[in-house]
Symmetry: C2
Subunit: 251 residues, 2 copies
C-alpha cells in the first residue's frame, strides 16, 4: 500500500480503534484517503474535503444501506465504473419483500422454526458476506448463537460433523443464489442429500441481479434476527456485553 | 497473476478438482508452477522437473508435516529466505509434548472436558489457521461439531451471542500465544471476564518461536480430536459422508 493507492476509511461512530489507526497509517504512506463517518475521532482528524458525513443516531449495524450507497458510489467514481442507481436498488429490495410468505417463509415463521436450534449459514461467492452478516445480526440483535461457513470449502470437513447436528441442535441453512452455476447447484443438492436427516433449510429470493439478491436476503435475514430477538425476549438494540468489554478495556 | 508469479500447486492425492484446474490456469498464464503431490492427475500433467513427489498411503490430513516441510522449503528458496531447520522444529514439537499434563491438560483430559459440548476455537494472528485446523480435525476425525473465529473481530458480535452458550452447550476455547502483545492479552482477559459464566477455556503451549507454537498446538489439538473420536465411538480414519458426497457428484 503506497501513494498509488486510494483508501476508504469507514467507521459509523468515527471512533473504531482499528479504522482510526488504519487511516493514520494510510495518510503516512501518502495514499489518497476518503472517509465515511458521522464524526468522532475520524471526523476530527480527516480532511473535510475528502470526507462524507452521514446522519447520526442510527445503530451502526442498521446503517448498512447508507454506508453501502456512499462507499459503493465512491468506489465506482474512483474506478470509473457505471454508477449504481440506488433508488432502483431500494425499490427492488422493497419489491422482493412481496415473496415473503410465498417463495420464502415469512420472517416470523423462519424465526420460530429456527428458535431452539443454532443456525449454520452456508453460502458461496457473493452470498458469503450475507451469511456472515446474518451470523452477526443473530448474535447482536437476538443475543443468539449462529455460525457461517463458505461453500464449497465446508464440504471437505463440515459434512463429517453433520453426524452430530441433531445432538447439538445445529440447523444448516443454505443460502442459494439464482445466479449460481449448474455445477454449484448440483453440489448444494448433493450436500443436502447427504445431510438429509439434519433438517437442513434452503433459502433463495428471486432477484434481478446479484446486488439485489445480496440486499434482499440481507434485509430478510435482518428481519428474521429481529423476530428471533422477540422470541428470545431480548432487546435487539442493547449491546450490554460489548459495552462491558469496552469499559473493561478502557478501565 | 501473470508470468511474473510463482505458483505452488499442492494436492496430496493429486486429484483435488480445484487444485488441478488452478494448476492449468496458472500454466496458461505462463506462471512458473511447482507441484507437490503423491501423483494422481496433477502428477500426470505436471512438469516432472518442477514436481516434488511425496510418499503415498497417508490420510491427507495426517500429511501436514511432510506437506509443510516441502512447501515451506520451496517458498524459502524462491524468496531467498533463511531455510527452516525442520529437524530442529520436529525436535521442539516433540519436546513441547512434555508439558502435556502439567502446563496444559493431557489430550484425553481435555477431550473428556469438551465431550458433550461444541468447542468454539478463538484465535488471533498466526494461531488463526491453528484454530481452523482444530475445527476441521474435530469434524473429520471425531465426526464432531466445532467452530473457529478470529479475534478481535469476534469481539464485536460473538460476545453478545455468548449469552446463549450454556443453552446450546457451546464452549469457547481461547488459543493464546506466548508472543501476543500486552494489548491483545488484556483484550483476551476482558473477553473471558465478560464471558465468565460460560466456562471458557484457555490453551497455551510454551514455545521457542511462532512456528513451534503453531505446530505444537496443532499436534496437541490433533491428539485431542483423536481422543474425542474414541469417546464419540467413531473411526477417525473413515470419511463416509465425504465419500458419499463425491460419489453423488460423480454419479
Amino acid at each position: 500500500v503506497d501513494e498509488k493507492w486510494v483508501v476508504v476509511a469507514v467507521s459509523y461512530s468515527g471512533n473504531t480503534e482499528e479504522t482510526v489507526s488504519a487511516y493514520r497509517e494510510a495518510r503516512d504512506r501518502s495514499c489518497r484517503v476518503f472517509c465515511v463517518t458521522t464524526g468522532g475521532e475520524l471526523g476530527r482528524i480527516s480532511n473535510a474535503g475528502y470526507t462524507q458525513r452521514i446522519p447520526e443516531g442510527l445503530q451502526p449495524r442498521a446503517a448498512l444501506p447508507i454506508l453501502l450507497s456512499v462507499t459503493m458510489g465512491l468506489t465506482e467514481r474512483v474506478l470509473g465504473l457505471e454508477p449504481t442507481d440506488f433508488g432502483r436498488v431500494s425499490e427492488n429490495v422493497q419489491r422482493n419483500q412481496e415473496v415473503w410468505g410465498s417463495h420464502i417463509d415469512r420472517p416470523e415463521t423462519l424465526a420460530s422454526e429456527i428458535y431452539g436450534s443454532v443456525p449454520l449459514f452456508l453460502a458461496q461467492g457473493h452470498l458469503v458476506p450475507v451469511a456472515y452478516r446474518a451470523k452477526c445480526q443473530f448474535n447482536e440483535n437476538a443475543k443468539y448463537s449462529a455460525f457461517s461457513l463458505e461453500m464449497p470449502e465446508a464440504n471437505h470437513n463440515e459434512i463429517e460433523a453433520s453426524v452430530s447436528y441433531q445432538r447439538f441442535a445445529i440447523r444448516p441453512v443454505f443460502l442459494e443464489s439464482s445466479f449460481q452455476s449448474e455445477r454449484m447447484s448440483r453440489r448444494y443438492e448433493a450436500t443436502r442429500a447427504v445431510m438429509s436427516t439434519e433438517r437442513s433449510m434452503k433459502l433463495t429470493i428471486p432477484s434481478e441481479n446479484r446486488l439485489d439478491e445480496m440486499l434482499s436476503l440481507t434485509h430478510y435475514l435482518d428481519m428474521v434476527s429481529l423476530e428471533l430477538a422477540l422470541l428470545h425476549g431480548v432487546d435487539p438494540v442493547g449491546v450490554d456485553r460489548i459495552s462491558e468489554l469496552k469499559s473493561r478495556l478502557a478501565g
